[in-house]
């Protein structure tokens, strides 16, 4: 199973700005998911995008998937201090339904 690689590793922005983080992978996927982890807590599922989808929205979240470039991006618009967390992409590929997680992007939103 493959692991996605998030970029950047860390991101620091001001409240109200947009935050963009990316995930790249190497081989074809079934779907890609984004999870959020507050410090010292479990991960929370945010959004899933299937390999035949290009864009999905959920509230202030926008996820895109470019299978030709083997990459996905997570955009958080009008960020808030409460968005401070680590964000992980998780990839399901091949015959496995168990997603593999990357190392995450640490986002800090300054009030």
């Amino acid at each position: 199973s493959q692991q996605g690689e998030e970029d950047p590793q860390a991101l620091s922005i001001q409240e109200g700005e947009n935050a963009t983080m990316n995930c790249s992978y190497k081989t074809s996927i079934n779907n890609l998911q984004w999870y959020r982890q507050n410090s010292g807590r479990g991960l929370v599922h945010l959004i899933l995008i299937r390999s035949n989808e290009r864009e999905k929205h959920s509230g202030r979240l926008r996820v895109t998937l470019d299978t030709s470039k083997k990459s996905s991006s997570l955009l958080i618009t009008a960020s808030r201090a409460a968005d401070t967390a680590s964000y992980f992409c998780a990839i399901a590929s091949g015959g496995s339904y168990i997603p593999t997680f990357g190392r995450g992007t640490s986002l800090i939103v300054h009030p």
Partner: protein
């Protein structure tokens, strides 16, 4: 609604001592359950998964073992802890459509 409980939340254990982390799921039957480990600054590593009572699959060779004595109970154990076993342990269950639902995690520090 489904919930997942992990305990203890925090544990400090000496090298060579045993370990038992417990996870229970409510509101679902015959869940697929997982144990992940998250070392500091790293991604999630899948340690074990179980598709039913007494059925355990190990993803990586290590000092740990897992058991599933009841349908909704998953236990992570060690007979003798190593320093390298320190980390954040997450229990999770597969709630369908490739999505994983996580518990709140257990911090283990081996001293």
């Amino acid at each position: 609604s489904q919930t997942i409980h992990q305990w203890p939340a925090t544990l400090v254990q000496p090298v060579g001592s045993p370990l038992s982390l417990e996870c229970t799921v409510e509101g679902t039957s015959n869940p697929n359950l997982y144990w992940y480990r998250q070392a500091a600054g790293r991604g999630l590593q899948l340690l074990f998964y179980s598709v039913g009572i007494g059925q355990i699959s190990s993803e990586v060779p290590q000092n740990l073992s897992a058991s599933r004595p009841q349908d909704r109970q998953f236990i992570l154990s060690s007979k003798k802890l190593l320093l390298s076993d320190s980390g954040f342990y997450l229990c999770a269950w597969y709630r369908g459509d490739y999505t994983i639902y996580f518990g709140e995690g257990s911090w283990l520090t081996v001293v």
